[in-house]
């Protein structure tokens, strides 16, 4: 079976490197699923979760706050802004951040709204990733 080589790097270091059967990423113009022999693609990422399906059928979760995705037929490179390991994601922390962002949105002046919305999107994505992870474990 053809596989992809996936590298997830952030400015602070390498996060993941390995083989995958398929990669799902939150691209800026909609989620993309990348199978081997995908056409070369370069796109921005929005906050969300990145899934890597290993050839053994296992799924790995990563949370990205943004970044660049580069696809070549057999190589996928994610240049992530901050990508934590899914296992390190704290659901409680994510929930608190989401609530704080919602509150801020409620009481914000007009200039702040854009910033707060951005935060809300991030917090919501973090929360989703954490929940999904717990569902898998439980």
């Amino acid at each position: 079976m053809a596989t992809l080589h996936v590298d997830i790097v952030s400015a602070e270091g390498e996060i993941f490197s390995g083989e995958a059967a398929m990669v799902f990423a939150p691209a800026s113009q909609g989620d993309v699923g990348i199978a081997p022999r995908h056409a070369p693609l370069l796109t921005k990422l929005r906050p969300g979760d990145l899934r890597v399906q290993t050839p053994e059928g296992e799924e790995k979760f990563f949370y990205v706050t943004g970044g660049i995705l580069e696809v070549q037929p057999h190589i996928v490179t994610v240049m992530a802004d901050t990508a934590m390991r899914g296992d390190e994601l704290d659901e409680e922390m994510a929930r608190v951040a989401k609530e704080a962002a919602e509150q801020q949105l409620a009481s914000a002046s007009k200039q702040d709204i854009e910033h707060a919305q951005q935060q809300l999107v991030e917090a919501a994505a973090r929360y989703r990733a954490a929940q999904k992870l717990r569902g898998r474990k439980g």
């Binding site: 790097v9 796109t43 921005k44 660049i68 580069e70």
Partner: protein, 292 residues
Amino acid sequence: MSNLKEIRTKIGSVKNTQKITAAMEMVAASKLRRTQDRMRQTRPFADKIRTAIGHLYKANPEYKHPYLVERDIKRVGYIVITTDRGLCGGLNVNEFRMLLNELREWKSKGVEADLCLLGSKGVQFFRSLDVNVVGATSNIGENPSMSDLIASITMMLEAFETGGEEGGIDSLFLVHNRFDSTMSQKPQSVTLIPVEAPDAEELPQHWDYIYEPEATELLTSVLQRYIESQVYRGTVENVACEMAAKMVAMKSATDNAGKLIDNLQLDYNKARQAAITQEISEIVGGAAAVSE
């Protein structure tokens, strides 16, 4: 007798100081090793992002991104990375000296400079000087994270977009210490903007990416990340320099304390001998007086 006791206490206190400096030397050595690992880890990201810039640049050779174009310089910006703590020899001082020279050169050309300081020592140093400090972040610590730096970088990038005529900047430099080896660290100034145009020649000719969104728009965010990663690397490298310089400074402090102890010990022995001699001559003198 009091003299003897004084010397003994002095030896004791120097020995304590020596223990502290020796411990600090070892701490710095182990932190240095860890920081060097971190420095290595920043490389894959920088390499990959440089390739991506190369592709994007080649995709639209006729499009000149503002970050890649050299402008007439009316005003420059500096991101200056310094250490948070002292006891690291002349590391910061050398850096300041180089920077002040550069600033003087700009001034003689009639160009003004804005400084953005990262690290407490820089903040302390430039507070008393007549320079334009537009931003300052201290206490970045030994494990700098991107989130600590991002605000300063974004601020300078915005200033660049404003341009020198309206009080922004036309070129951006990064000043930090370069890690050559444990024994040698040199301050250096790197040009962040304009970004050096990548070599498009080496890239394969027969295929191109699908760009989502437009290549020009992507180029902006890729270039921004490239600049950020360079600043991050500079910060980590500066921490490595701090640790190496601290290690060397503490080693020489430990050696000097050793020398000091040797000298004091010599003085102590002399004083002790003098006291004994005096006592003997007093006894002999007393005995001679009795026998007469």
